[in-house]
Symmetry: C2
Amino acid sequence: MMNTPLTITSMIERAEKYFSKKKVISRTQGGIHELTYKDIGKRVRALSSALEELGVEQGDRVGTLAWNHHRHLEAYFAIPSMGAVLHTINIRLPAEHLIHIINHAEDKVLLVDPDLLPLIEKIADQIPAVKAFIVMGEDFYVPESSLDPLYAYEHLVAEGDKTYEYTAQIDENDPAGMCYTSATTGKPKGVVYSHRGIALHSMSLGLADTAALSESDVSMPVVPMFHANAWGVPFSATWFGATQVLPGPYAAPKILAELIETYKVTTSAGVPTIWLGLLKEIETNNYDLSSIRAILCGGSAAPEGLIRAFELKHGIPFIHAYGMTETTPLVTLARLKSYQSDLPEDDRLSIRKKQGLVVPGLDIKAINDSGEIKHDGEDMGELLIRGPWIADEYYRDPDKSVETFRDGWLHTGDVVTIDEEGNVEIVDRTKDLIKSGGEWISSVELENALMGHEGIFEAAVVSMPDPKWQERPVACVVLHEGVELSKEEILAYLEAKFVKWWVPDDVIFMEEIPKTSVGKFLKRTLRDQVREMV
Amino acid sequence: MMNTPLTITSMIERAEKYFSKKKVISRTQGGIHELTYKDIGKRVRALSSALEELGVEQGDRVGTLAWNHHRHLEAYFAIPSMGAVLHTINIRLPAEHLIHIINHAEDKVLLVDPDLLPLIEKIADQIPAVKAFIVMGEDFYVPESSLDPLYAYEHLVAEGDKTYEYTAQIDENDPAGMCYTSATTGKPKGVVYSHRGIALHSMSLGLADTAALSESDVSMPVVPMFHANAWGVPFSATWFGATQVLPGPYAAPKILAELIETYKVTTSAGVPTIWLGLLKEIETNNYDLSSIRAILCGGSAAPEGLIRAFELKHGIPFIHAYGMTETTPLVTLARLKSYQSDLPEDDRLSIRKKQGLVVPGLDIKAINDSGEIKHDGEDMGELLIRGPWIADEYYRDPDKSVETFRDGWLHTGDVVTIDEEGNVEIVDRTKDLIKSGGEWISSVELENALMGHEGIFEAAVVSMPDPKWQERPVACVVLHEGVELSKEEILAYLEAKFVKWWVPDDVIFMEEIPKTSVGKFLKRTLRDQVREMV
């Protein structure tokens, strides 16, 4: 058969050619923009030509620090289509991490949103490899800035060649993108995505059995485009000609609800924190969200109460998924099998709250000290993943690579069970498991139970050293506004659900659980706080 | 990223592991069989081990002469998963072609349905490369036959190793399958399918925007498994865990209608002749076909009247698709874009009757003497196709390869228009175009118009040599039973639809249009017949 490579270039060219009338709606600090794929296609070509003029060559890294908007989308295609590498940078990283990853990736050019310029101005003298900065604002002129040379995105695009031909000879295994993991410990680790990996992943998002992204969708990724390519949604949505709504900077729940209502969004993707926020908003104010056919939720486990509220109270289908930066990211997705659709509501929810079935194209297994675990929903082991959109190393980091990529598998550090239907459920991180009296206690299962209580907004469970049992669990709880609950009531609630030795020794009430920049609980910080408090 | 190969092995392993309860329903001469993917998985392993025992090695070709049933499905996976090549042989070929392709492919083992044994017995002494024959019947014992050595499929499977591990080191570009085109002229040409090509094609069939094959489907391929892998449907359906209904030998319209009703088939695939037959059946007798969510129709152009009858009269969504043996085969598929769904019925049908939009992953263009054609629905050119599931040569046939595979594109020999939305419409074969007075007349457009007449069952238009105009069209028409129509009435009907010089010079009434073994009009034979008659 022909050895036609799988590339990102072919995705944008398809959108340009066959979906020229379809629209990308983009919210920026300048307001709402509506562009067709015909417009976008020309602007992508112009950006590629401008980057080439600036000296970007095949294989060079080009960094972005930007929210979810059309200019970022254009960069998603312009950079890989000319053979360079799209390096999306997490805007919430501390300065020392920004310096580290920009230097480690050797970014040659940085594209930066206007409101994020100060982040880079502060560190500009410590990132010597960067040869040019581009500000992704509305204006043709650059703002006052210490960055030099600094170009205005719209000026480059206006002057660029809108008929630029993508002539780069791209092998499908060439790097197309990269993203550093938001490490909770140590320095961020770089993951490089190939054209092949992104193309196959994008195809998997279009499968009827996964996210079923299609031309008829109005797709609104809330997950940041600087975090695992917004789960690959912008690539798929463009390839398949879906309408896209990019919610821009500081997209508060009210803004999201309004965008959904106005543009009849059919599908969205984000972490549980986003949906907890949206839930509060739609329970306070009235919106017509009937256009939504599916919400994708991943990044960390969604509490059952959240799924229940969306599905049963608001009639919004809520699909739980699992992946990580190292996996492009989609690995599993929770859907009922056809013969499960008639199960009682609670049984269906208990399946839907798991992370789900591995998508076609990937292999998984879970191992513990006794070998591969049984598929019985009880046996616990570390999840291992293999497949063509799974990283096989951390970029220029052999030490960290050796820990994670072994024997042909990615070792996730996630402890899971797998039920007889093949559904994966994360029960903990290997390092967050609580080892009490020689047995394992899953902090995540306790957290999910706590967050299933209607008075509790958020909860995290961490280990405390214990002279007798080695470790014992302690619960940290954030109550909903106006709710009063005592420590004893919470413990009694858990005693009804778990064996006695799983029930935490203490409950600590907090204002907020500390989180990483992508909304995951920062267990290490929390553990330190708690150990000081108790 | 990991260089995990895309293989057929991973498809059957996924079905075994995650869809062990789902069923394959198979109609054979022995009756109806129901097997789970758990059963199928074990039987596939046993068949692989048996073939290995018979001396089949990686890269060897193993031929099948069989209808659509579970044993053929097992061969679809057992042969490629052990690294050998599944060579599906068209059972309707004349003996000389059978001899040619079995020798040309150098098949080492042949799997043959009981009723098809005589085809092979007749030629057994002319296919010296074949070392063993397997009869795919119900029995543990072999029937009386001159074939030697002859094994019983069920005996091999029963004795085989049901825990056989697929240890073959398969590169994704290794051959997995092959199929010879049913040539209307000259010898059949071999097309080799790689693991990669079949895997990517299978994924494309699962996209929400294409066939949307999914776990919840009950999939019944009517297109023969000896013809372009039954359009790849059995591979996708297995990978995604769909229920499959395999309709077996001599599946008359009545049998198809009963299978659809009994097993609540949701999707089926076949050539127009099949659906013309089913239409007659469901208009004569009562069936509940409400389970069907989509019928896929390809192989040759479906007349508008057929689409109209299924869609409007029977409420059965009818999806027109296009492909060929050389393209695995799916290339284009006709669906409305989201903004076309409110168009008036006739406008929607005029889109649905085209061959449609190229699927994600492939590139197309059409060229004529002036270069690439305009996307205006008028300009005509030869369709060219490129992509990872498109063949790049005919097997061991450099002369034929050079004609068809040039400049990195497959030259289809199909003359098409492409409209501004990107929808392809076949207007003719390059060799069936009628050249009249220096202009082109599309025989296919005339045929479609004729078949849109409610009194006409089938029609073909061929060229006659003409001293003045070089060539002139003549229509061959088969009327529905009991209908009376005169030549003059038919010509008047066409005069209302076409410019004067397109209207055929004559109408010839026939009992049947001669067809190839896969149901396509045999234009060359027809031309010869007509030239003798006129």
